[in-house]
Symmetry: C2
Subunit: 460 residues, 2 copies
């Protein structure tokens, strides 16, 4: 097999895809805009830590990388909720010790993937290559070298754009007919902050948790790093609400804000004010488009096709799952790119749309619901129902995070389950009062109405 | 006043805007991609005829052009429905003889506007100038001359993109942060066809009507031209339905299709098959975006900001209304472009969104509802209610077409009115059975619930 595939973007999805394609014997040329992060420090101070979960682990496992990657991760077994008085409440993510998510640094993971990709003699990664566009007629892709300014024209048998939410390949799609596209920004921005390693080493707060300071209209989260520090992210409206980003202008604005609403965090963050003003403000964006390919000449994958909000921790997991399904389609159709691309789009589009919607829902959940009594009861109801009806009930969070049930099905089932359980939990004071049989019956009835099969088919 | 405004695109909105700005003393440079249509024939065989109505006429009247333009128009006093047996039903558009819309050729109107604009010594129109982008920092705009290939850099005090649904200026907006954007294609395409002038001159079918052949999943319309011919447009799904564009492949496919479902039209169209295969297939697109300006350096207006479907005949009328309101804001804020642009966006965005939605609704109405009994009764109910409750009831169609009530208000009121009247009309066989008081009371109640003022304020 001597076909050549051009990959634009050596981020997480692009690098894993390269490995999958290399294993199938394709010649893969990867063009990356940034410098080689293994040589140059290119951190922009705005990377939200990643939560690697079942879908991503499964995709890594197919190429033998899951174990190596998980060694660099910190297990997060639940949410640790910080009240504004500093009280802590722990909400487990899963029904048992085996269900947890993995905090991992974007850079560490990307380096592992690039190193693995470069082990293949049929892979070549070129850095500092900014894509300036491509011809959807000839399939040629155009690059400018960001170091010396030279330009080049590259051609292969097909082009795959894994160049992220600001995809240059997608810009070409926009010039073609019948390309449906939307980009939608939230009114929220975010700031990366840090809880440093404790003096003498170790973690200043619970290591094995995703920490949340939920405050209704805004929130901060903190994810552990293996070195003992936490990467924190403050999500906040630009201009609305009692507190917002536009109001935090002076150094004292920031300290007074933290003092008032997250005093326990303030004590943990000696560099808070400098971080706040030195780091750029990130923006939150959802991208939807279709079709994802033009005539088999080019395909969009990962964030380039479906950038989502970070609140379900599924952006990377979804991109990795893209790679897995794409590989299965190569197994089925060989190098009939047009056929592979068409089928890939049909298979993945509704699932990408579903996880986009779920991620938005989870933003409300994280910044607000997790602090409410009804929601805590509902979480307990989820666990009891999973115990009572294995094979037939899985919580929405677990379907998305600990299973590989297609996102679209997880969303349909999960939204019905959550609506019924939230309503029932709003009427009780203790989980003992919940009638599990009644809850499950109501869920079954709603499933039947919506044409959803009652039994779970976990295999995909 | 010596400020210079760069206008990209000398289409309908761009040309009218130029006149408004020239009257205020600005130096206006207009850059148009196409050749000068007054010299070169640039018809692409895919222009749906325009229906000029109150909003557009009002905006033309402000610059003294309404009378001249209306001389080239043909009054359309209602819809003439053609059944598949060739039976005709006439549905008046308005409640009296003074409420009608005006069929006008895009080219004739554009020529009148360009001629008027060029009467001003402070206006210069450059043709064959394709915009290749602009700098949103410096405000410079870039053009390539399509004739000789030379490129130029142009700068003024601000840039206004009236360059249509495929706007080059908007492409620059897409590269900036926090620009919300969507483009969404219908699964329908369209073909321009012709009913020629009768032998010896005159109209082959009723002159003063917009003709419709409604067929549920597809339709044809025909709009009269002053010369006696009709510009027809067949709207049809690309791939779904008993008949679709993908199925009309051979010459006999087209004639058999017309013979079966629009036999009366077939007889009127001697060039049908040639037109069908020679003319390109047009596509149907909705564009939404926001903000419409970047830092006062550039503004989008007309289709560049809000391209809509053609089914309410409001695309041009809305663009002309943009010009009118923009001019009012110059009156208010002088040359504070940032302020003018911000206020323009806030004023017009919800109205542009509303007419986009109304145009989509009207597609269903035109291709399907107009052939139904309930709908015909509802039309009669509209007229009776307008007579009984002047000042308090106007039909949705009339609010959009014969008044200048903001589109957003017309939509809110109209949707409630139509829902209630359709339901009541579905239960009766003759309009005499309709209880007008009850209908109006129900509408008032729903208005109150939705926070809509009962009395119409027609002044805007």
């Amino acid at each position: 097999m001597s076909q050549k595939v051009i990959i634009v973007g050596a981020g997480l999805t692009g690098s894993l895809l390269t490995i999958y394609l290399a294993r199938r014997g394709f010649n893969v040329e990867v063009y990356e805009r940034r410098a080689d992060m293994r040589i140059v420090n290119i951190s922009a101070g705005k990377s939200i830590n990643l939560a690697l979960s079942t879908r991503g682990i499964h995709a890594l496992d197919q190429v033998g990388l899951a174990e190596e990657v998980l060694k660099t991760a910190v297990a997060m077994k639940g949410r640790m909720i910080h009240s504004n008085k500093g009280e802590l409440t722990f909400q487990p993510y899963g029904k048992n010790e085996n269900e947890y998510i993995n905090s991992i640094s974007r850079k560490d993971l990307n380096v592992i993937l690039m190193n693995e990709a470069e082990k293949f003699p049929n892979v070549q990664i070129y850095f500092n290559q900014r894509c300036t566009g491509m011809s959807l007629e000839t399939g040629e892709a155009y690059f400018v070298n960001e170091t010396h300014g030279g330009s080049s024209v590259v051609s292969g048998d097909t082009v795959i754009g894994t160049d992220g939410s600001a995809s240059a390949i997608r810009m070409e799609f926009l010039r073609s007919k019948h390309f449906n596209f939307s980009q939608s920004y939230e009114n929220y921005g975010y700031k990366e902050l840090t809880i440093p390693t404790a003096e003498g080493g170790g973690f200043r707060i619970e290591k094995n948790a995703l920490h949340i300071w939920p405050r209704g209209s805004y929130m901060m989260i903190a994810l552990p790093n293996v070195e003992g520090d936490f990467t924190c992210t403050l999500f906040m409206n630009y201009e609305n609400g009692e507190y917002n980003l536009n109001k935090l202008v002076a150094r004292t604005d920031v300290t007074q804000f933290f003092q008032k609403v997250m005093p326990d965090a303030l004590e943990l963050m000696p560099e808070l004010v400098d971080d706040f003003f030195n780091n750029p403000t990130g923006s939150l964006l959802t991208i939807k488009c279709y079709p994802w390919n033009i005539n088999g000449k080019a395909l969009l994958m990962g964030d380039a096709a479906h950038a989502i909000l970070p609140f379900f921790g599924q952006g990377m997991n979804c991109g990795f799952e893209d790679c897995y399904y794409f590989d299965k389609l190569i197994e089925k159709h060989g190098t009939d790119w047009q056929k592979i691309f068409e089928e890939f789009g049909k298979l993945r589009k509704e699932n990408a749309d579903a996880i986009a919607e779920l991620a938005l829902e989870n933003f409300v959940e994280m910044r607000d619901l997790v602090a409410h009594k009804d929601f805590l009861l509902k979480k307990k109801a989820d666990v009891l129902l999973e115990e009572r009806y294995p094979e037939r009930f899985i919580s929405k969070y677990a379907m998305v995070t600990f299973h590989r049930i297609p996102y679209a099905i997880a969303m349909k089932r999960g939204q019905i389950q959550d609506r019924i359980l939230m309503e029932m939990c709003s009427k009780i004071d203790s989980i003992d009062e919940l009638n599990l049989e009644e809850a499950f019956d109501r869920i079954k009835t709603e499933f039947a109405k919506a044409g959803i099969e009652e039994k779970l088919k976990l295999e995909v």
